[in-house]
């Protein structure tokens, strides 16, 4: 199943993605970049997700359908903190932890998800920011959990790391779909998945998965790697650099 995206003929033969939700359609997803290189000068990336949806006979699908594309970054455990006013100051007063908040999450669809599927299906496939499975730790009060989950989503939206775009998927000739998803420069590195769903009358007819790797490369990778694994040498290097620059500037200035 993992290699499905890469093996196009195999995908055609196997038919729909998940046997358990097998529909009558074939979905072949592709992505413009399987590897995003975060290197010097990286300002973010534009991902183009495209593909074809056909009947097993290789014909265009007769009825109308919608396409939803979900791109999800590596999950991580997070603490969400809530500020309250204490003695006139806004300070962190309460917190709640979640075991798996994706570092990046974007949903693109051909029209608003609420009009495509009911909430139950949306929750099963995690189609939309309201349906993210964040796995809360500790607190069992659902209202409190929900408040913190909203806060987390809101924060990540402001950071540009979570977004929903209900108009970002276009379908042409009932066969080809394409969606554009923007990754900001602050995307976390790691393994991403892009899952595409073809949905008609509230039912998922076909789905397909591709993988994307976001990785630091070149100089950026070298620096991050040294900082992480050679702290002493890295620190000495930073100190030497600042002394050298200050000293050189002082010498130049003294001459003038």
């Amino acid at each position: 199943m993992i290699r499905r995206a890469a093996l196009l003929p195999a995908a055609l033969m196997l038919g729909a993605a998940h046997p358990e939700k097998a529909g009558p359609l074939v979905l072949v997803p592709e992505v413009s970049q399987h590897e995003i290189r975060v290197e010097q000068g990286f300002t973010g990336a534009d991902l183009l997700l495209y593909g074809a949806i056909l009947t097993p006979e290789g014909q265009p699908v007769a009825g109308d359908y919608d396409v939803v594309v979900v791109v999800e970054g590596p999950p991580r455990a997070v603490v969400v903190r809530e500020k309250r006013q204490v003695a006139g100051m806004w300070i962190n007063a309460a917190s709640s932890s979640f075991r798996s908040a994706p570092g990046f999450y974007a949903v693109a669809s051909s029209r608003p998800v609420a009009g495509i599927v009911d909430s139950r299906t949306a929750a099963i496939y995690e189609l939309g920011l309201d349906w993210l499975q964040l796995s809360p730790i500790g607190s069992i009060d659902p209202a409190r959990q929900q408040r913190f989950a909203r806060g987390l989503v809101d924060h990540m939206q402001r950071m540009g790391l979570y977004h929903e775009d209900p108009r970002a998927v276009s379908i042409s000739h009932q066969v080809l779909y394409q969606a554009r998803i923007t990754l900001p420069s602050s995307v976390p590195i790691g393994d991403y998945t892009a899952e595409t769903f073809a949905i008609s009358k509230g039912r998922v007819l076909a789905s397909g998965l591709t993988r994307i790797r976001v990785d630091k490369q070149g100089f950026a990778r070298f620096i991050a790697d040294r900082a992480e694994h050679a702290g002493l040498a890295y620190g000495l290097c930073a100190v030497a650099l600042s002394i050298a620059m200050g000293w050189i500037a002082g010498r130049l200035f003294a001459r003038v």
Binding site: V38, E39, Q40, G41, F42, T43, G44, R76, V78, V79, V80, R81, K83, Q85, G88, M89, W90, I91, N92, S95, S97, A101, F148, R150, G151, L152, D154, H155, M156, R158, S185, S186, P188, K216, F219, A220, R221, I223, A224, A227, G231, L232, Y234, G235, C237, A238, V239, L241, S242, I243, M245, G246, W247, I248, A249, G250, R251, F253, A254, V256
Partner: protein, 304 residues
């Protein structure tokens, strides 16, 4: 010019960072302060994570204080004896600061603590400086000479046990006083990403009662070594020193420092102090508003 900061995990406009470095460089050239108190908050407003901002600003302050310290060393303006005690205190302080940093981070109060420290430290020092410099400007305008302050250390300092002679400063005091002062600024350096010059200089003058001719040089000497220790401490514990960010800041600040030094020679010293006081108060006020106003973001997210 887009530059990707590999530790901050963020693309920034390189010219903005160099400009920011230049701005603080001008300040350091004009006033002899490191400018960290301005770099760190401005970097945070720009979107750099607070830890990375504080860690990288420390190495900028190192660069900014090197040439100043050398210049003072050449004309004998450093009391190495008291300077060494201050540095030892400062290095102990950065260690304590690192522990405190970790504790506050675990409690989720590090941002509030940093903001509060800024408001308290900058607010009080800025007000003192403003009052003093307004008085000086007035006295100069009216042509009346200010009464010379009698140089004397604080009674608390005199009560400390064990006394050493610090010849160049003209002091016979307990080494515990400069040691504690060094520790205090070391903690602040670690937490706030500042050199601490604007705290050290008045403390040396009014609490230790050091001679004016060695105060600035000795404070630069201490800042130089303590910011170096801070950079090392961050590199080994928080791993938040961003070399790319630090380089950009350094380029700006060493260029700005030359401009600032030129400007300083044209301006009157009491007016300069008043301007610096207003800048310091401005930063403190901005921080206070940040604490008191309802923030845009009630929720924040940190990795476990």
């Amino acid at each position: 010019m887009d530059v990707y900061l590999p530790i901050a995990n963020l693309a920034v406009n390189g010219f903005v960072i160099v400009g920011l470095g230049a701005l603080t460089g001008v300040l350091s050239g004009m006033f002899g302060v490191g400018g960290g108190f301005l770099t760190t908050p401005l970097l945070i407003f720009y979107g750099v994570p607070p830890t990375v901002a504080a860690a990288s600003a420390a190495s900028q302050v190192t660069g900014a204080s090197v040439s100043g310290a050398l210049a003072h060393a050449r004309r004998g303006g450093i009391d190495y004896h008291i300077g060494a005690v201050l540095v030892v205190g400062g290095v102990i302080g950065t260690g304590l600061g690192a522990l405190l940093f970790r504790l506050l981070q675990a409690l989720g109060q590090i941002d509030t603590a940093i903001n509060l420290l800024y408001v308290i430290m900058l607010g009080s020092i800025g007000s003192l400086m403003a009052v003093e410099s307004i008085g000086a400007v007035r006295a100069r305008r009216t042509g009346r000479a200010q009464p010379a302050r009698r140089r004397r250390h604080h009674p608390l300092v005199a009560s400390l046990p064990l006394r050493w002679r610090f010849y160049r400063s003209g002091l016979y005091i307990s080494p515990l006083a400069p040691l504690l002062l060094g520790m205090f600024t070391g903690i602040l350096t670690m937490l706030m990403g500042i050199g601490g010059g604007f705290i050290l200089v008045p403390a040396m003058l009014y609490i230790l009662g050091m001679g004016v001719n060695v105060v600035v040089g000795t404070s630069l000497f201490q800042i130089l070594f303590v910011t170096m220790a801070t950079t090392m401490m961050h590199a080994l514990t928080t791993r938040a020193v961003d070399l790319v960010l630090a380089s950009l800041l350094l380029v700006g600040s060493v260029l700005g420092a030359q401009l600032g030094a030129g400007l300083a020679q044209k301006a009157k010293p009491d007016v300069l102090r008043l301007v610096l006081a207003l800048i310091v108060l401005g930063v403190a006020l901005r921080m206070a508003l940040g604490l008191g106003w309802r923030p845009d973001e009630i929720f924040t997210v940190v990795s476990l």
